[in-house]
């Protein structure tokens, strides 16, 4: 078993607000190894971005309560980015770890050429002249599949299409060969044909640079295409954690089961009604006691002693390499898992 590159342990992130403390991420623990892709899925507002921004050191520490640990196992020795001084984390960002955001337009400066922006990113960590930087920029643009890169480095963001801007973001994130890449909804704003170009590119780059990749998305189709392992989040917590096949064919959490059966699939005929998860996720301020999913869970009544309402389930190992935060037993969960979730081919 390889040592993971990133080890997150009991990470909590909360925001004090006028209405109360927003518990955005609670008790988050996971690992990612070099060459591996971990997908993080879950509904909007479940804490996917917040927990990863903490790893990147991108929260305003004065206005955010962060506790727990996030170790980067660097060649020079392990560093906990949560307790390390801000300056240390700033040096690691862009070099050892990098992030791609959903909206490339907000991350690119409209008044500087693409080449200047890439070159600046490179020169932060490398000795070299501006023209060396531009050369490196053109090399990267070429690598991410932008035709005529040597000329296009001189162009500005508005001259690039949405898909090409996302390629530029990838080039910028990868320009210093980071070991960890966090991609936050990198294809959500793109349509399917461009999405498949970008996913292919991310896969090629991961191979080329042997990176640990965290892919944040709520598209379970994309996850099936690229991930090795999956964390499912709900209301700020990881509710299920397993290898890709276990999640899709053998889920051990009622929320994941609901999620998987509510998506229409192009490889299955329409006509039948989509299954829905009734209701909405709870507010993250003053979360109810017990399981956060309880009000929407169709199986809670099977747990004896009204436990779901009174005690919060722990994330426990229920099968090899498979953890779930639910009071139900493995036998019950297996029984409740609707068969169509396991795929029609089985």
């Amino acid at each position: 078993m390889t040592t993971p590159f990133l080890e997150v342990k009991n990470l909590n992130v909360s925001f004090p607000t006028e209405d109360g403390e927003v518990m955005a991420s609670q008790d988050i623990s996971f690992n990612v190894a070099l060459g591996e892709t971990l997908a993080i899925v879950g509904e909007s507002g479940s804490g996917k971005s917040v927990s990863n921004l903490a790893v990147m050191g991108l929260h305003n520490r004065a206005r955010t309560n962060i506790s727990g640990e996030a170790w980067l196992n660097l060649a020079s020795g392990p560093v906990d980015v949560i307790s390390a001084p801000e300056e240390t984390v700033r040096r690691l960002r862009g070099k050892s770890m990098a992030m791609i955001f959903q909206d490339p337009m907000s991350a690119l400066h409209p008044y500087y050429s693409i080449g200047d922006q890439l070159s600046e990113a490179w020169r932060l960590y490398n000795e070299g002249s501006k023209s060396d930087g531009i050369k490196r920029a053109a090399q990267m643009l070429d690598l991410v599949g932008i035709p005529d890169a040597a000329r296009r480095v001189q162009e500005y963001p508005h001259q690039f299409s949405g898909g090409m801007r996302q390629r530029v973001m990838i080039a910028m994130a990868l320009i210093n060969n980071p070991s960890l890449l966090i991609a936050d909804e990198p294809t959500t704003a793109l349509d399917v044909t461009v999405q498949s170009q970008i996913l292919q590119l991310l896969r090629d780059m991961q191979k080329e640079f042997n990176m640990a990749v965290i892919l944040i998305t709520h598209d379970l189709g994309v996850v099936a295409e690229v991930a090795d392992r999956v964390n499912v989040m709900y209301a700020g917590k990881i509710v299920e954690k397993a290898g890709i096949d276990s999640i899709y064919y053998n889920s051990l959490h009622p929320y994941t089961m609901g999620l998987l059966s509510s998506i229409p699939r192009v490889d299955q005929l329409g006509g039948h009604r989509l299954k829905t998860i009734p209701g909405q996720p709870p507010s993250l301020i003053g979360l109810p006691a017990g399981c956060s999913f309880r009000s929407r869970c169709e199986f809670a009544s099977n747990v004896t002693g009204n436990l779901c309402a009174t005690s919060a389930p722990l994330l426990e190992i229920k099968a090899p390499e498979h953890a779930s935060r639910c009071h139900l037993s493995v036998e019950q969960l297996n029984e409740f898992n609707p068969s169509d979730v396991r795929g029609t081919h089985k």
Partner: protein
């Protein structure tokens, strides 16, 4: 023969592009929609799909005469409405409604839900049976919202609930046709399923005709009876849903379908994808011949010069390609 609610013949919508500045001159035209034929019958859902920028929204808006068509004809229940003035359109407006993509931007934040849903009654000077308040509450109930929330404001609702408010508004005047422009794209999967089911139920109950615009093919496949595939302002292929997904003949349709991620890892591992190279060409300067020729893997010389005719290759399956896939 089923009753036709909407019929388009050779619909075109071109936008002039100007040089900008005070003495702006017309520089060229964006051929946003460039000859679209389609028909939607009562109780039927026709899905309109294609890449971003291919002209889907423009078709929807032109159908409702929010844009004046450049050329072609629009028939609503058999009547040619292409040339009707704003004034003449007014009585028809109530029968054709639109649901907008963005449930956040399309509702006025300063108006209560009651005011938003009842606005159409005022505009059309309609006094609904049983009074406005009662009708609004019935509508809210019908779309699965709590009728007691009539005095709440949009920000007090979740994304899925806001989209329901938009649907309630569209239903207020008992329309025959609803143009739904990306009605679920901004929603989370679990909420998306709630809204899709609601649209299904309403159609069953009221016999609505939907023109359903979306770029998510899984949703389109689920909800549509027939699907129209557009590329750069033109229809590439049109067929009933089962036929189109089982037997796509246009290379673009094929590429599009192969790109849709399927939430099943085993299938994904075995799947062959057709990855299109490059971007959608500019609609100001579309390629000569077949508009898809710059990205098509089957392209031959003929495609670069000769525009492929739209042919009915089997009943109700039309195609515009010189070298179709399969058969």
């Amino acid at each position: 023969m089923s009753e036709s609610v909407l019929k388009l013949e050779g619909l075109k919508k071109h936008f002039p592009t100007t040089t900008g500045g005070v003495f702006s001159r017309v520089k060229g035209v964006v051929k946003a929609v460039d000859g679209v034929d389609l028909e939607v019958a009562r109780g039927e859902t026709v899905g309109l799909v294609g890449e971003s920028g291919c002209g889907k929204t423009t078709v929807g808006r032109t159908v409702l005469k929010l844009y004046e068509p450049t050329d072609g004809k629009i028939f609503f229940e058999g009547e040619d409405i292409t040339k009707l003035s704003r004034h003449e359109m007014k009585p028809l407006r109530s029968q054709m409604q639109m649901i907008f993509q963005d449930p956040f931007a399309s509702l006025n934040p300063r108006h209560t839900v009651g005011a938003i849903v009842s606005a159409s009654f005022d505009i059309h000077g309609i006094k609904p049976e049983g009074g406005v308040k009662k009708s609004v509450q019935d509508l809210l109930e019908r779309v699965g919202l709590n009728p007691e929330h009539i005095n709440r404001f949009p920000h007090e609702f979740s994304g899925g609930q806001r989209q329901r408010i938009g649907i309630a508004r569209a239903l207020a005047l008992k329309p025959k046709l609803i143009v739904a422009d990306e009605p679920v794209s901004a929603l989370d999967v679990s909420i998306q399923a709630q809204v899709v089911n609601l649209l299904d139920d309403l159609q069953q109950e009221l016999g609505l005709a939907y023109l359903f615009v979306a770029h998510d093919l899984s949703v389109v496949q689920h909800i549509s009876d027939r699907v129209v595939v557009m590329y750069l302002g033109k229809v590439m292929e049109m067929a009933n849903t089962t036929e189109l997904f089982a037997n796509p003949r246009h290379p673009y349709t094929k590429a599009l379908l192969s790109a849709v991620p399927i939430p099943d890892p085993e299938i994904e591992r075995k799947r062959e994808r057709i990855i299109l190279q490059g971007d959608l060409p500019s609609p100001v300067n579309p390629p000569a011949g077949c508009v898809f020729n710059t990205r098509c893997w089957k392209v031959q010389d003929r495609c670069r010069v000769e525009v492929p005719q739209v042919l009915e290759i089997s009943p109700k399956h039309t195609l515009a390609c010189h070298f179709p896939e399969g058969n």
